[in-house]
Subunit: 328 residues, 2 copies
Amino acid sequence: MVDIEAVLSGNRLVLSRLLTEVENGTDAGRRALDDLFPRSGKAHLVGITGAPGTGKSTLVTCLALELRQTCSKSVAIVAVDPSSPFTGGAILGDRVRMRDLAGDTGVFIRSMATRGELGGLAGATAGVVQMLDAAGFDFILVETVGAGQNEVDIARLAHTTLVVDSPGLGDDIQAIKAGILEIADILVINKADLPGVENTERALRANLELGYVHPLEHNGNHRMQKDTKQGVVQEGWTPPVLRTVATLRQGSAEVVEAMLRHRQYLERSGLLKARDEERLRNEVEHQLQAALVRKWKQGVSAERYEALLQEVYARKRSPGSIANSLIG
Amino acid sequence: MVDIEAVLSGNRLVLSRLLTEVENGTDAGRRALDDLFPRSGKAHLVGITGAPGTGKSTLVTCLALELRQTCSKSVAIVAVDPSSPFTGGAILGDRVRMRDLAGDTGVFIRSMATRGELGGLAGATAGVVQMLDAAGFDFILVETVGAGQNEVDIARLAHTTLVVDSPGLGDDIQAIKAGILEIADILVINKADLPGVENTERALRANLELGYVHPLEHNGNHRMQKDTKQGVVQEGWTPPVLRTVATLRQGSAEVVEAMLRHRQYLERSGLLKARDEERLRNEVEHQLQAALVRKWKQGVSAERYEALLQEVYARKRSPGSIANSLIG
């Protein structure tokens, strides 16, 4: 039995257990999400992403401290970590740098392990965020490590997306950074006490103003334009470029202030509602897909399925044609 | 109409167009995959992954040259790049460093853009790899940028997974690296002319021998053991640790030799068949899921769907309960 009252009254142990159920996609987890859903929709969801080496974790810690101490807001941190496909464990489980937050009941930290199923991470993260939202946290900070599809999927969850950069990153990192620059609502240059910070800021501002040009394609005709989707956001919002030194807790007040301003902007422009609805529509599609597969699996004979798989293994029939005849 | 004969006779333009259809998940793309599927199953699939800054692209180029010039094998390279969610374009579309391969008809290079749908990248990559396999390439090298779920998903596609490391990476990178070390069949230390290469090699060998320990958890009880799944592979195969300087084309012959040895090992041990079957089973599940959703969407009224979505937006009912009543 899931003790929803305990979660709502702030029992962190019960919340943790429930999040594990949600992450694992169990029936109990699904039921809890269903039951708690009407309570959700109040938290402000912030995605924090950026290339490796930019000091994201320290910045997240810093922002959480700022939100707690200056704004008296409760904060949940969701860390989406690289993890082993075999152990299923989150490597950064004990986050050394987050020690500063220990003992504060207004802060809750959750490390996600990436789950086995294809595309499972984004789905599981959506559930965890929704549960934390329902549990009453004012701010939910979702930190993603790495680059690519994960960032994009998770940015869709967020009301406000912070992209973190820092001076002195290598070429490969620049390429990774490039892919996520366009999803930024706020740009943060962390480690701003390092040499080269002016160059980093100039490059970011140039990207913002001129549309993005990949460093490897300066000579070419591959210049990309921001499309209309981003254009909508930009009509009333220019992503600010802010400097921080998270290890010294410098600049975090300005970042929090920008987050609050962005929230107001989203509310005023109607985009908050639009982003929420898009997120929920995606969530329904995701749930629908899962439910269709579950239902279908209950109705099919294991022998028939296995026999058809053998035809695929022998390369007599393609996975696509098997799928079609199975549901036909 | 899809001209399959043209693909099989080596027409690269037709192949490119077909791959775009596959990547976009169009009906034509699906039909082509179905038609060409019986021709697939001959290529050796190699995943190449590793932290940013390790020089993966250069190494891939180098390996392709080696396979072409020394072994006379045809090679397709699939680069899974970070990309913009808005333009849908692959940023590294023109890969400067791959210029060396230009003009060789035995080499084909494809950059993947990450696609919009959740978990779409792995699915689209699987289709593209299958198509290249059917088109007759001997080796398909899939390079992934970044870390996390993408790497894991794509490693599942590969017969042989190379994990690339290099000396002198920062702490954040170490953490990312950690998550993918366990999927390696071959470990490559690129940039082996840099200082610190001995330390890098020692650390990798220690990981291999002792099971993985995260750098942040040296003091603790979080030491992870390789589980039995990896144990099976290790029974007859110890991942070799090889040094390369890809920019000087040093060491690539040894890497190719290890790939060929790994292929033989997989064949001898029966693992080649087992890995292929697992991949195809995943592919059937993926296709099934897509087909179920397509079929369901044909049967549902758009008005009813929209009305139910409104209840979710108003937080009266959860996405999960809506999904269940929609398919009920």
